[in-house]
């Protein structure tokens, strides 16, 4: 029961209005500043559209609305695994897209999603005995490889600083598409990123070699050699002997003039 006299009620209302009135503009400005800061981190949050809402259903939508986005994405990811085990490739593709839209800055979804499509789905299509002929099987395989490549590339767009997406794209070009030039490009980019494993630095040169481009391979090995400081050359992981022997071999093969050789003797 409230029997507070009217004048006190008015005073209370005015005090509350004053507090909130002072705070509200500060709040809005501050929140806008936080939003800008998060945009600068390339973190754009999530804008739900109707299609996504339909795909998620009511329960998961509420989960996302209450700030449990990554957990929801993880649960959907479990479905990706199930779809893979059941060889439901189109369903798997849709789920991968959903996960990556939910968490575009979670590289593992792009990474694993691209791999699922470009490798597992495409190999599955190659072995699909329900297809009447080899041509259709290859066509289907190529379809999934392109899908996976697309996932990798969109992943790179969203997470350009994550080396693994670059190197996995390189791997896909190298092993599934036999496109060594592109593979060399992606390995090169991967090796330049922070946290990338050292061994990637040798991959571009090896790719040129696989492409039969001796000149390109030579230039790549040479560039690597020149990039390394004398101290680095002595470190085991840079594998000096391998670089040196390749340069020597290619200098012989391309008959580079002695004065221009790295190893003239």
């Amino acid at each position: 029961m409230n029997g507070l006299p009217l004048n006190l009620r008015l005073r209370r209302a005015m005090l509350i209005a004053l507090l909130l009135g002072l705070w509200a503009p500060v709040k809005i400005v501050w929140e806008q500043q936080i939003a800008r800061e998060q945009d600068n981190l390339r973190y754009h949050g999530l804008v739900m559209n109707r299609q996504m809402r339909d795909e998620l259903g009511q329960g998961l939508t509420i989960g996302i609305l209450s700030g449990m986005r990554s957990v929801v994405a993880d649960f959907i990811w479990l479905e990706v695994t199930t779809a893979w085990e059941n060889q439901e490739w189109f369903r798997m593709g849709g789920l991968v897209n959903l996960c990556t839209s939910l968490q575009p800055r979670a590289p593992v979804f792009w990474d694993m999603g691209g791999w699922q499509l470009a490798w597992n789905a495409s190999v599955g299509a190659e072995r699909d005995v329900t297809q009447p002929n080899e041509l259709r099987r290859l066509k289907a395989a190529r379809f999934w490889i392109d899908k996976g490549l697309d996932v990798y590339k969109r992943g790179i767009e969203n997470n350009p600083e994550y080396w693994r997406l670059w190197s996995d794209t390189g791997l896909l070009y190298q092993q599934r598409l036999k496109d060594y030039k592109n593979a060399a490009y992606y390995y090169q980019r991967a090796s330049e990123l922070p946290n990338a494993p050292v061994y990637l630095e040798r991959f571009p040169a090896i790719m040129y070699g696989l492409a039969g481009d001796d000149q390109g391979a030579y230039e790549a090995w040479r560039a690597l050699w020149e990039k390394l400081t004398p101290a680095q050359r002595e470190m085991k992981e840079h594998w000096k002997e391998k670089i040196e022997s390749n340069i020597r071999r290619l200098e012989q093969k391309l008959s580079v003039p002695k004065e221009k050789r790295v190893f003239p003797n």
Binding site: M1, N2, G3, L4, P5, L8
Partner: protein, 302 residues
């Protein structure tokens, strides 16, 4: 008497035209919980607020504690506004049917309230010992309050109200729901407090107990004070005199006595002979306390 200005010492409690109204929005009516109360309680008095449920006793106490705000009028406690910390430093309160924190034991409860009032260290330890002794809760110190009986709860309630040694105590229905033995103990406590010089204002609807402890009472009805005065003046029947003779008398003896009194000019036919009754409470207390193994101890609540 009600408008007398007291220079020193200030009154323990003074209200002037104290009124509390609650608007009942949906019924477009106003509930008058307390209507223009003028009340004065002197220091050292035991003052009883009497009246049926909903007559304004609790509202008065809440207003005197600053828990609610008066619609009109004014209340003063030792000349101070009741919501001021200074006033509350001198006031102790036992609410109606208190439960307290069931998860604390008796000791912890008193310690909590003591610290809250700024009593600390050795002083607090000593105070707790005193109070436990005063209210007779030696067996409740280590027990959580959830296992306390009603009477024990009231007594720990009294102890917490006294923890900061206040000069004025407000007790809201201190004996409600307590068995006769327990309520007799509480009554004795109030008398002890009076001897210590405390002012006690309490509300009750159990009239017999009020009669035994209160110096003055005010009777409330429907938010209004309808009667006030000392018990002595309110309860004496001036038209008759009682003589108590601690012996049984046979009819013949009675007749002789009647005649003897008749000689003083009293109309003989109006003299009646009866035997005084024990009150049921007195009987109960005598019986229970006469048990050989009786110690003042409470059984836990079921």
């Amino acid at each position: 008497m009600e408008t007398s200005t007291v220079a020193a010492p200030p009154l323990a409690v003074e209200t002037i035209g104290l009124t509390k109204r609650y608007p009942l929005t949906w019924k477009r009516k106003v509930l008058v919980a307390l209507d223009g109360l003028n009340l004065q309680v002197k220091q050292g008095e035991v003052f009883g607020l009497l009246g049926p449920n909903g007559s304004g006793k609790s509202t008065t106490l809440k207003l005197l504690l600053g828990l609610i705000v008066a619609t009109e009028g004014e209340a003063r406690v030792f000349g101070l506004p009741p919501e001021s910390l200074e006033a509350r430093r001198r006031v102790g309160f036992l609410p109606e049917n208190p439960y307290f924190y069931a998860f604390l034991n008796g000791d912890e409860t008193l310690r909590f309230y003591g610290k809250l009032c700024g009593v600390t260290g050795d002083k607090l330890d000593k105070r707790i010992e005193e109070l436990i002794d005063l209210v007779g809760l030696q067996n409740g110190r280590e027990r959580p309050l959830r296992s306390y009986s009603k009477g024990m709860l009231q007594r720990i309630g009294l102890a917490q109200a006294l923890i900061h040694d206040p000069d004025l105590l407000f007790l809201d229905e201190p004996t409600a729901g307590v068995d006769p033995l327990g309520s007799a103990q509480i009554r004795d406590l109030i008398l002890k407090l009076k001897k210590m010089g405390k002012t006690v204002v309490f509300s009750s609807h159990l009239l017999e107990q009020v009669q035994e402890v209160a110096d003055r009472v005010a009777i409330f009805s429907l938010g209004k004070k309808v009667l006030e005065g000392s018990l002595e003046s309110l309860l004496t029947e001036n038209q008759s005199t009682q003589v108590l003779i601690p012996a049984e008398m046979n009819p013949e003896q009675q007749e002789r006595l009647r005649k003897f009194i008749g000689q003083t000019g009293v109309n003989e036919s109006e003299i009646r002979f009866t035997r005084p009754h024990l009150s049921l409470e007195q009987l109960y207390l005598r019986t229970v306390q006469a048990q050989p193994d009786f110690v003042s101890k409470d059984s836990p609540r079921p």
